[in-house]
């Protein structure tokens, strides 16, 4: 298979530099190249890609391939945004010596993902600065759920309640504020431990994975068609984006492509998902600085989007619309008119909401310089999506890796460098306006034809990476097929997992009462992280 010409110089550089230490190169798809090597190559390979080619590590995961290859594999997925391709390094980790080298000291973005591999696969980290448990809580017995010899239905002993050993922060006047996992608002569960001196936060420890429900394991134990429904339940607010990323992966592995009309409809659905979430977040940010009227208007607009979703797809969260090979429902003239009317009506309403917030100087005062995430820190942590774009990270898969129908529309990616709550809100405001425009562009040039093609049975033991820029940020679904039309592995990467550690940085020096608004400005998914 030919690869993109933009990737060729990078490939040539790597093969020249590392020579036979790269044992095999597998061109899976034009923008997806696999490198097989030994573990000792990882730091050098990673450094070369980062320093010379401005790559970034977007996903890091393991796979139990002991049944056919007698070894575990660890995969490092690098995105080369300006060359529009993914380079994926695969290294073996022998079952009899399950150790792998940590990159976290050089690359903090790898921190949680490495620890998750340690927890779920029992591959031990070497040289990690904080190798404590992360995905499985402290009371879990010595089990490694994603190994193939662990059964999905294993009954584990009931929770014994062993306490997590948080780091101690000591000093005169320092005290701890524990919050969660059951929160005061209507949100998902997680635990935050603030160490404060007076009001300012000195240190924030975030403990998640309360909603871990075996999702990745479940993918391996169900027919691939049901995987779409499971993907919709990874993070409810990104139902369509996750389902589409999953479909994208399956379509790539089976060498099928959704027809143009289906891709156009997917684009509209992705933008509707972005719209209702962004509008709701803008309102919620206003609420958290006590500007409740703005939130009432925002929720009113959000309800408009949800009702349109229901008319278009049968479900307010766009569930049941995605399917392998396209979308399940075509839209008739009446539907298309409804969308056009919706955009025409909502655009001035949204502008008026933004004016309302902008004209409130006390709101601006609370949002500006609050929850600063500096561009350098955002870069080190690999922050993605809206939070990244508010901190100077100019990345958007819709532009750099066009999927669905994004190659047929024009839009700009808003980027700010200040990294405060105000800018995270501003990115949303700009993106809502872009969404209206994208929807209009799609409808103006809506291709005719089928909305679904048949996806053949899965080929055995092949790999593929599916991706979607969800409203929160980039979503990756990496799959390896097994036999009998089943998946042997489905690795889900939600943008939240990458961004949570940034919240601990952004809150430093802020007062505890500002935590809700800082948290809301990131609005990360717990379920998407915990899976």
């Amino acid at each position: 298979m030919n690869i993109l010409s933009s990737l060729k110089p990078i490939l040539a550089d790597l093969t020249e530099r590392f020579g036979p230490r790269i044992q095999a190169v597998h061109h899976a798809r034009p923008n997806e190249v696999y490198f097989h090597a030994q573990m000792e190559l990882v730091p050098g390979f990673c450094a070369q890609l980062y320093k010379k080619w401005n790559a970034r590590l977007v996903s890091l995961f393991a796979d139990d391939a002991r049944s056919q290859d007698k070894t575990f594999h660890v995969y490092y997925v690098f995105a080369l945004d300006s060359a529009h391709g993914f380079f994926i390094l695969r290294i073996p980790v022998p079952a009899e010596r399950p150790l792998f080298t940590s990159l976290t000291n050089a690359l903090p973005a790898a921190n949680w993902q490495e620890r998750e591999i340690q927890d779920l696969f029992g591959l031990e980290l070497e040289g990690h600065p904080n190798p404590r448990r992360c995905a499985l809580h402290d009371d879990w017995p010595e089990v490694f759920p994603l190994r193939k010899d662990f059964d999905l239905k294993t009954v584990l002993p009931p929770f014994q309640g062993e306490r997590h050993k948080f780091r101690q922060v000591e000093g005169e006047g320092v005290f701890q504020v524990p919050v969660g996992p059951v929160h005061a608002g209507i949100i998902e569960p997680g635990h935050f431990l603030f160490s404060v001196a007076g009001e300012p936060v000195l240190y924030l420890q975030i403990r998640l994975f309360y909603t871990h429900k075996g999702t990745e394991k479940l993918f391996e134990n169900m027919p691939v068609t049901h995987g779409v429904q499971l993907a919709e339940s990874i993070s409810g607010d990104s139902s369509f984006a996750h389902a589409t990323a999953f479909c994208h992966a399956v379509e790539r592995v089976t060498r099928t492509e959704a027809p143009p009309r289906a891709r156009a409809l997917r684009t509209v659905c992705l933008e509707l998902e972005r719209l209702y979430n962004h509008v709701a977040d803008i309102g919620a940010i206003a609420t958290d600085v006590a500007f409740v009227v703005a939130n009432s208007h925002a929720m009113r607009l959000k309800e408009r989007v949800l009702r349109l979703n229901e008319q278009l797809t049968g479900n307010r969260l766009l569930r049941g619309m995605a399917c392998l090979g396209g979308v399940r429902r075509d839209w008739d003239a009446e539907d298309l008119q409804a969308i056009t009317r919706f955009v025409a009506e909502l655009r001035p309403e949204f502008d008026s909401l933004v004016d309302l917030i902008r004209e409130s100087s006390s709101t601006r005062d609370r949002l500006e310089t609050t929850g600063l995430l500096k561009p350098e820190i955002a870069r080190d942590l690999g922050v993605v999506g809206i939070a990244g774009r508010a901190s100077g990270i100019d990345r958007d898969l819709r532009r750099d890796f066009p999927h669905a129908g994004y190659d047929r529309v024009t839009f700009t990616v808003p980027v700010y460098r200040e990294g405060d709550v105000l800018r995270r809100m501003q990115v949303r405001i700009d993106e809502v306006r872009q969404s209206f425009s994208i929807i209009e562009q799609v409808l103006a040039a809506l291709p005719e034809g089928p909305t679904r093609v048949t996806v053949p049975a899965l080929p055995a033991n092949e790999v593929a990476l599916g991706y979607v820029e969800g409203w929160r940020g980039e979503i990756f679904h990496w799959i390896r097929t097994g036999g009998g039309n089943r998946l042997a592995r489905c690795k889900i990467k939600d943008p939240s997992l990458q961004n949570w550690p940034a919240l601990s940085e952004a809150i430093l020096g802020n007062i505890v009462p500002d935590f809700p608004v800082v948290n809301k400005s990131f609005n990360l998914s717990y379920s998407g992280t915990d899976r």
Binding site: A184, V293, H297, G314, R319, L356
Partner: protein, 281 residues
């Protein structure tokens, strides 16, 4: 300031009159699936299509029992695509006080090929309340809340492991469109202030203890409402190494609200149903 006022006045009242008016649900919305049991040729296609086991077959000695469990149903409509005897309706008000009220069973004699030969018994379940009684339910509510709860019902929402889909709709109850404050219903920050726990699930292993503690911290009389396909019956996650399934596998549940997620009308219907239960205690 003037602008805020002007905008509020020009916007006018947007609040739904539900339940005095019917649920404002699109005719395309997928709600309760309707099965033509008497003419059903073969349940196996729908069973295979269902991702949550809401439709299940059990064959024994030439007989088949088919179960339709709305508590597990995600209303995805895949069964209706696979089988012409199934039709998706937009009926969303499905809350039930007993788990078994969400379950319908049908028995068939099957032939050697596994298709249905003879329809034996319908066994329809006593599915929820008829829609007509809802108005009166709303009217009775104020009286009951006054009497039992001092003019207000305080709800603590507990996410015991959901995907956050149910949370999106529950948050919507506080929007000006649904505004549950009009019933004297408030969401509160602590279980200690709550009369009702509105629990979404499936209950993850990591949330089991937190859910039990939250339940224990809620003063009597308390009502527990399980929300969504996962809260009612484990949904697509079911029971696995990390998930304990439905909420009633961990704490007693008074009312079940099916849906994936249930829309705000379905939630209001379920909450009102639950308050009816409260005086019956």
């Amino acid at each position: 300031m003037f602008e805020i006022l002007r905008k509020s006045l020009t916007t006018g009242v947007v609040t739904s009159a539900y339940p005095q008016t019917p649920a404002a649900v699109s005719s395309r919305a997928r709600g309760r699936p309707e099965i033509d049991f008497a003419n059903w040729k073969d349940a196996r296609a729908a069973t295979a299509a269902c991702p949550t086991n809401a439709i299940a077959c059990a064959d024994e000695g030439g007989m088949r029992t088919v179960t339709l469990d709305l508590g597990k149903c995600a209303f995805c409509g895949l069964c209706a695509e696979a089988d012409a005897q199934i039709r998706m309706t937009n009926v969303c008000e499905l809350a039930a006080k007993r788990r078994e009220h969400l379950i319908t069973k049908a028995k068939y004699e099957i032939n050697s090929g596994g298709a249905h030969q003879k329809f034996l018994s319908p066994e329809p379940s006593a599915i929820n309340l008829p829609a007509a009684s809802l108005d009166s339910l709303g009217a009775q509510l104020k009286e009951r809340i006054k009497k039992v709860l001092g003019r207000s019902l305080h709800i603590r929402e507990v996410d015991a492991g959901s995907c956050n889909g149910c949370e999106i709709e529950i948050v919507g109850l506080n929007s000006p469109v649904y505004d549950v404050e009009r019933f004297g219903i408030h969401f509160v920050a602590s279980p200690r202030h709550a009369d009702m726990l509105l629990v979404t699930g499936p209950v993850s292993r990591n949330m089991e203890m937190a859910l039990r503690k939250t339940y224990d911290a809620t003063p009597d009389p308390r009502v527990v409402v399980a929300v969504g396909a996962c809260g009612c019956g484990g949904g697509i996650f079911g029971v696995n190494y990390a998930s304990l399934g439905g909420v009633d596998n961990v704490i007693p549940v008074d009312v079940y609200i099916p849906g994936c997620p249930p829309n705000p009308h379905a939630l209001i219907h379920g909450i009102l149903t639950a308050v009816g239960r409260m005086t019956a205690k």
